[in-house]
Symmetry: D2
Subunit: 310 residues, 4 copies
């Protein structure tokens, strides 16, 4: 198991409580498409007032595939320097090859990530069966200085981390949980069930099914919409955790359309546009992501107004 | 709106409360592949002792596509003659053409169906957009003597009834609800949200996401697994309805694998095999459905034993 | 092998040469949605002047799922009484259950079908593996009085008849070939390769890949577009068969967009509209198929005009 | 159009003839997973004796997503130094962001690539519509010092470059063609048809449909199998180009199964294993790609032996 030892990891993982809401923060760019650290910092100051458990940096809607490796590390470092110490910093360190993932994971830990979020490799999807994925994540977890959260996001990768692989990986002392963005609630319930002997936590990967995920045993959520309606998502968390399901349901329902709009329907450009409406810096995306058309902007606005948010 | 009038339907629909659990009953056959009415009757007597809201006859796992039109009506008639009057009889009457659906709906009502379950036509799936489906279901609901429940089951039809079509159709006074077997909990929550001004009820179409569906506002479930573990599903209903979510979760989790086994993993032959183990008559399926292999039977058994049911 | 004997079938199959073009004829309806036999007859008289190998009656774009069983047989009978004796009548007799398929096959043969086209059952698609499909088609072929052509049409059924099943079934003396509408040319080439020891013929199921299918060894095509541009498809056949590939390519390319328009893009309503433009009776479809919108009609027209056909 | 001028590109593109066979070369690694330049060189010496049009370096089965940017450039440089000057070097330079693609394209040209192969960005697949892709490829082609070949490989990217985007991009003077690995022959025929006014060449992206692609107007192929059976693929090219379709068909059919085995069925590890059997250096893949199991190795061997290649 290389440098990492079972003892060390058990204690590491023991320290890690993932329960709560994490915004996977967007990356603001300047007009010349450079990372805009000033605007990022201003967003972080606003997020600091919201009772988030922590932040995800380099999640899918952080446009990480459009950042160089250097930029990926630099952004994490910038966030760390600003983030309150009691908040968790979860950094995306997944790459296609195991080797590159190992290296980036080390770098993320070195600049202050508390935990890394490692997406399934996906280019050779036909070969990414349970065995290949188990080997990949095991090697990463074996060598990672910080706990690892598995990340399954089929809308982007075309690949869902199989349940049997998750169950197997949940036994690794340095694997702390799974961010599941697929939203198949039957699968989520099953994973909670089959990992219940382990110190393994499930995070809902989108706000659309957050309450349902809590109902079947998730402990939190990494939700793009938290960039926009962070306070409200923390309120939804509180209602679920305290068993106030009727109130939770009313709030959850009002979040589905805004969430769909900033994720699968209109994507990162919509997330960034909505951030602007709610007092955050969103701005443009890197190419080839295109700005919203006028019609899309109106559709986005409708999805917020018709649910009483604008 | 043809023969059917708004007044009549409003009162009809008002009477209809779908909340509760419905087994979509399996159809037992003799060794010569004829409907085995004696065994069916014996199953019904056992189901009579379980607090089901009613029964679905000719749901997807009743092998209705393998029955002739005459058989479909005859089986409904047989069930009616045996079923306690206070239990609802929901009869599948969907066909590919609107015309055939209208006719079969009339026949089902004539032999005693309280409500009909109408599946989306699907052969020309590329043309079954919201407009075509709205027209189809509207014509059926206009002329049906009994309330209509929409039925979306993408695993069989390759087609999901779009949310906008459901919302539009929910306004029809003779459309009482939707059986959603797709299991996308975000969609289910959204449908509940967008139809809440209507007298429109949502039924979970599978036991795997029953609790999650309750959490976001469903009123019941049509669950293949209720043919086998009917008492337990009624218990899960009771826990959800009375807000005992912690206990519900524990029970729900133990039902996911057995449910998957008798539905998408191993299908109707597995459902019928499991029925045998639990004291019901399952028996063989009509061809081309094949009996389980020995390996499949063992896998099925494992999915029940590992969750403490056998 | 039941009533059917190897000897009988070998001779039956030996008589059957499927090489050439078959229009899968559309079914004209009256304004009250009844089959319009007069208009059907007029279409047949026009088709009689085109060097088709024969006709397919009750293919996917004959709206067979919208016909009753009686209508399906009646239409075949009507076509038989009009069709020149040297032309083949291939009748669709596939149903979901094996039993129903056996019965309809007998009826089709009794009213004069030379060969039956049997689609893959598909409702329980998760269970329709090679073994189930081999059993189904074997039983049908064993008892059919006329040769059987397998029919794989994934766009409608959500299911592709697996290559290994085709290869196995090709050895049956009463199975004459496969109509493959999926259009995967690698698969088509492989099937020709692996069935070359058998008396087994491959028909392209759409005009879009007709020439490519000839290039890898198909012997003909069942093409919706032949209802509209029948003469041109027979010309394409002639060019392919006589090795005039350069001329074939030019003609083939002009047919792709019109073909797509009347099949996957705009479906049967477009096929019927285009028939009207070219002097045939198309007319309306049965519900739930909707008439084309004005925008769709214009798009359809453009797909013909931009390729020089209108 | 930025730095690049129409005149320059017209002449550039005019020089480029893509007709012929290109192996997308595999990348041999040492046991420590470093690029094995010695073995690569030995492979190149063997390929030099085969009448390839050129080589593709960093195609999908070159494991380019597992190489660092530096390695990607270095491998191209190594190949250039060894490759006969009359052979084309096509280098994969596609990245997720437009900016990174521009930079890598420049580097590839600087180390001697004659043409670059640019894959569709795919992580945000829901947003990669025609407009986004047209903008991406246009910017790349505008600034690239060498001609650009578009690359559509849905099995890896989950995304097919839409026909309308291809047609629009075909008008760019610095875009020379398309490598289409999807294998939809109807689409390939349509693209040839709709780009025929342009200096735009279509390359089949796999050996399974090479002959069919030639029949509808492709000019060559980039085929993984050419790493193993390069001479035979050049022979297939010769037969197609000289109109000897009967002989071509026989050869094509024997190549389908071996090709499927080293691509979609068993992937890059199988390609590398087969290379070993035929006298080339394949070796291991980078993790997370796994070595073949014993059963897979046997299946691979069967796919070659049953077609007479081993």
């Amino acid at each position: 198991r290389g440098a990492w030892t079972r003892v060390q990891s058990a204690s590491t993982a023991a320290r890690l409580d993932l329960s709560g809401i994490f915004p996977p923060i967007a990356t603001p760019f300047t007009t010349s498409e450079d990372v805009d650290y000033r605007r990022l910092e201003e967003n972080l100051q606003k997020y600091a007032k919201i009772p988030f458990k922590g932040l995800v940096v380099q999640g899918s809607n952080g446009e990480y595939p459009y950042l160089t490796e250097e930029e990926r590390v630099e952004v994490v470092q910038a966030v760390r320097s600003s983030l309150q110490p009691q908040k968790l910093l979860m950094a995306g360190s997944g790459c296609e090859s195991t080797k590159a993932t190992l290296q980036l994971t080390e770098k993320m830990a070195a600049v202050g990530a508390d935990v890394v979020l490692v997406v399934t490799p996906c280019f050779y999807k036909g070969k990414m069966d349970s065995q290949a994925l188990i080997q990949h994540f095991t090697k990463v977890a074996d060598s990672s200085p910080v706990p690892v959260v598995l990340y399954s996001v089929p809308a982007n990768t075309g690949l869902e981390l199989p349940v049997d692989a998750v169950v197997q990986l949940s036994q690794h002392p340095n694997i702390a949980g799974l961010k599941d963005s697929g939203g198949d609630i039957t699968r989520i319930g099953l994973i909670v069930h089959k990992t219940k002997g382990q110190d393994f936590q499930l995070l809902a990967g989108s706000a659309g099914f957050l309450m349902a995920a809590y109902s079947v045993g998730a402990v939190g959520g990494v939700c793009a919409l938290a960039n926009v309606l962070g306070q409200e998502l923390c309120e939804l968390e509180r209602l679920c955790v305290s068993g106030r399901w009727e109130e939770a349901r009313v709030l959850q329902q009002r979040l589905i359309e805004p969430n769909a709009a900033v994720t699968r329907k209109l994507g990162v450009p919509a997330l960034k546009q909505a951030m602007e409406w709610f007092g955050f810096h969103g701005g443009a995306c890197r190419s080839p992501l295109q700005p919203l058309t006028e019609a899309e902007t109106q559709q986005l606005r409708r999805d917020f107004t018709s649910n009483g948010w604008l």
